[in-house]
């Protein structure tokens, strides 16, 4: 049997990838949008629907960023409600380990797993910024180097609680002291599926040791193959096999009746994603200074980036690279392409979609990435809510099925079944608990 493609469906989120100005764009927060999106993904036999999270509204130049979609409902609440209107699809939520306590998280994920009959997944993120901390008791921030220490300890404590069967659990570590009994039997999956997002060496190690799937960046086929080989090779040292960790890059796509039409549509979407005001905001993010006087259809600024003003945009991941290098790269790029405007450069540098073409072209290209071991599947990030996956499900899914690379029915009731993951067993976790 051919290697099978796994698909996650990312509900369009709070960033400029999500186009809200299109007439087809619906509400980002109405429950009906989530129902449409999840039920359609389930019709497409996808492994899971995926919710992102951000615990502080983004701010730009000291004010709430108003150019992109703002706001989202609570992750656990939406996933539990979606469990009522779907029956098979996995329910994956991003939940932060910095601003939650492991005992409560264990109760929440066990509840979701019971109430969804074994479909819960946890995309575990650990933030370190004091900006987000201002919304929480804990306040302050987590030193960067402690992020994975905290994440590992959360995994150890929650798994010990899920596995405890009424026995007292006692944990003492640098991040947490937890003692007591857990009120629930293990959920249908034993442990919810654990997803790790993050491509750093530390993140890869953490994923190899503990995660069931890694949500990574999409790049070239070769880059994907290198990442895939690296991550899978790390599994053995943790006593795990290559099939225990799925590599799932986040990808965007544009479909058309012909490849040329899809390319035209892709350009149109990129211009929606990068409005003139968004282009300036991106520019300010790189330059670290106010640039509102600049014409988005004019050339890049001559002024150099302010390298000390690294926090002009807060609440999102920033470029880790030296802004002066990025600025020069953008100038060279604009010049090499016949003098591109600010907006054109931002569109080219930030907005290019992963897969563009007819449903057949897209299916073939995605299949190539999977069959050639650049990944095990994809987390699809559509640009529209709630119908952004409709055409993919109607037209790309059958193409993938025709290629023999995609299921024609769900293999079992739980998300672990969909992903081909083993049911966790006690001895492995007893070992982790003592770590």
């Amino acid at each position: 049997m051919k290697k099978q493609i796994h698909l996650g469906a990312h509900f369009p989120g709070v960033n400029n990838t999500t186009v809200w100005s299109d007439p087809a764009a619906g509400s980002q927060t109405d429950f009906s949008s989530f129902v449409h999106f999840a039920q359609n993904a389930e019709r497409g036999l996808m492994d899971f629907v995926f919710l992102a999270e951000g615990l502080r509204l983004r701010e730009h130049r000291g004010r709430i960023h108003d150019l992109d979609v703002v706001g989202r409902p609570d992750t656990f609440t939406v996933l539990n409600a979606l469990a009522a209107v779907t029956s098979r699809i996995g329910l994956a939520g991003t939940i932060n380990t910095t601003y939650n306590e492991p005992y409560e998280l264990a109760v929440q994920f066990a509840s979701l797993d019971h109430l969804s009959a074994g479909r819960a997944a946890w995309n575990m993120v650990t933030t370190s910024d004091a900006f987000t901390g201002e919304n929480f008791r804990r306040g302050g921030f987590l030193p960067r180097e402690q992020r994975y220490e905290r994440a590992a300890e959360v995994v150890a404590v929650t798994r010990a609680l899920w596995d405890s069967h009424g026995a007292e659990v006692e944990h003492h570590g640098p991040q947490f002291d937890v003692r007591g009994r857990f009120p629930l039997p293990p959920g249908p999956q034993g442990h919810p599926v654990l997803i790790q997002a993050g491509d750093s060496a530390q993140g890869r190690d953490f994923a190899a040791a503990t995660a069931d799937a890694i949500f990574t960046l999409h790049g070239t086929l070769e880059a994907g193959q290198a990442f895939y080989a690296d991550v899978k090779a790390r599994l053995a040292q943790h006593g795990r096999s290559p099939s225990d960790l799925k590599v799932l890059p986040g990808v965007t796509f544009v479909l058309g009746d012909t490849d040329a039409e899809a390319q035209e549509e892709a350009v149109r979407i990129r211009r929606q994603q990068v409005s003139p005001a968004t282009a300036i905001a991106f520019l300010e993010q790189v330059w670290g200074r106010e640039l509102s006087e600049y014409d988005p259809d004019g050339p890049l600024p001559d002024v150099e980036p302010d390298v000390d003003n690294v926090s002009i945009t807060r609440g999102r991941v920033r470029h880790a690279r030296d802004p002066r290098v990025v600025a020069q790269e953008w100038r060279d790029f604009a010049a090499a392409h016949g003098g591109l405007s600010i907006r054109e450069v931002v569109i080219e540098k930030t907005g290019r979609q992963s897969f563009i073409g007819t449903p057949r072209t897209v299916a073939a290209r995605m299949d190539e990435f999977v069959q050639r071991d650049a990944c095990d599947g994809f987390i699809l990030v559509p640009h529209l809510t709630p119908g952004g996956l409709d055409r993919f499900v109607a037209e790309v899914v059958p193409e993938l099925q025709d290629r023999g690379s995609y299921r024609t029915a769900y293999p079992g009731p739980t998300l672990r079944d969909h992903l081909g993951l083993r049911h966790p067993h006690a001895p492995l976790n007893a070992r982790k608990e003592s770590a």
């Binding site: 927060t29 409902p73 019971h114």
Partner: protein, 378 residues
């Protein structure tokens, strides 16, 4: 709000998995696994909704002796899309949890239930609960309720931190949101500071219904300031009437109109063909549990007419604006209430007739609250 009338009597029910009595599941022969299934919980709420009960209270505690216990906010969200018409009020404790998370959780329950959400804040008193979190020791009641007051204020301010019309989707200027209608709450209190705004827009009801217990003197000022619905327990109806007057005075003292607060009396219920049979059942339950379950409030052990009589008297004597039925055994006591007691109450003209639609607030005769921040600059 209209003045108090008998016809405005409100009927709530407390829905745990198997009933208030700790031996209920074993006594009734329920499969423990079924108690964790969504079908069980949806079935209970649907039974209550079908007979027009106003709200289902879904208790939660972190105390490990409480038995198998799903998080009640999760249960409420899971049943909201498939059970219509009834208010859903989970307990969310505030002693060891984050007000920011609670605020968006309840706001989102309001979204997925189309405006039928409420919230009962509660405290975690014991060291056993504190040890599950390991962040602070157990605290006395006065400290716990001061913290509740802060938590409720933060939660409500976060609900208001988005004005209703903050999302503008103005393609001409490229702005999705009018940031002048989003507000930092800048709360700084004794127990925590929260910056805001919420990440979740203002919920459909503006403020989901806030339900607070006011049995302890330390809780009374919190209820007087913040509650839409106050739960009380009392050994008898005269004590309940006195408690209700105390609460209405405190509400007035807090600058609110007493009729803006609904006082619900807990009534423990186990129904049988006759009183003898009901008492014999309780004896069996207590024996099985290995301990007598002392009444937490007025308790009715008897036939459906006994419960209808007590509820009627409670409302007529203004001991309460309505009752929270606390079934000792589920689902049988709920079935008896809906099949037998509700028709009796309706026949006596004690319940509203016709279908109540819309939000939980409108069902309870509560207005949609103004936004604290409207008119304020950001």
């Amino acid at each position: 709000m209209s003045p108090f009338t008998e016809a405005r009597m409100h009927l709530a029910v407390e829905l745990t998995a198997a009933g208030r009595h700790p031996a209920a599941a074993a006594w009734a022969g329920l499969d423990p696994a079924a108690l964790l299934s969504p079908a069980h919980h949806a079935g209970l709420a649907r039974t209550a909704a079908r007979r027009g009960l106003d709200l289902a209270l879904l208790p939660h505690t972190f105390h490990p002796d409480a038995g198998p216990l799903l998080e009640s906010a999760a249960v409420a969200a899971r049943i909201a899309p498939v059970v219509s018409g009834i208010g859903l009020v989970p307990t969310a404790t505030v002693t060891h949890t984050e007000p920011f998370h609670v605020s968006k959780s309840i706001a989102t329950l309001d979204i997925v239930s189309a405006g039928r959400a409420g919230w009962e804040p509660a405290v975690s008193r014991t060291q056993a609960e504190a040890d599950l979190f390991g962040r602070k020791p157990a605290a006395p009641a006065d400290v716990l309720w001061r913290e509740v007051a802060e938590a409720v204020e933060v939660v409500v301010r976060l609900w208001d931190s988005w004005e209703d019309d903050a999302v503008i989707r103005d393609a001409a200027t490229g702005r999705y949101v009018d940031r002048d209608k989003l507000h930092h709450i800048d709360f700084k209190g004794e127990f925590f500071s929260v910056k805001g705004p919420s990440i979740t827009p203002r919920p459909p009801q503006g403020h989901p219904v806030v339900v607070l217990r006011a049995d302890e003197p330390e809780a009374l000022p919190v209820a007087a300031r913040w509650a839409d619905v106050v739960r009380i327990s009392a050994p008898d109806l005269p004590s309940a009437a006195a408690a209700r007057e105390r609460i209405r005075a405190a509400v007035a003292g807090a600058g609110r109109h007493p009729d803006d607060v609904i006082v619900l009396l807990d009534v423990e219920v186990h129904l049988a063909a006759d009183r003898h049979r009901a008492r014999r059942d309780l004896l069996e339950l207590d024996t099985r549990a290995g301990a007598e379950l002392p009444p937490s409030s007025v308790r009715v052990l008897g036939p459906p007419t006994d419960l209808a009589d007590l509820v009627g008297t409670a409302v007529r004597t203004r001991a309460a604006d309505g009752v929270t039925l606390v079934p000792l055994v589920l689902p049988t006591d709920l079935d008896a209430v809906t099949d037998r007691v509700v028709p009796l109450l309706a026949g006596r003209g004690l319940l509203r007739t016709g279908r109540a639609g819309g939000s939980l607030r409108s069902r309870l005769g509560l207005s949609r609250p103004a936004n604290h921040f409207v008119g304020a600059s950001s």
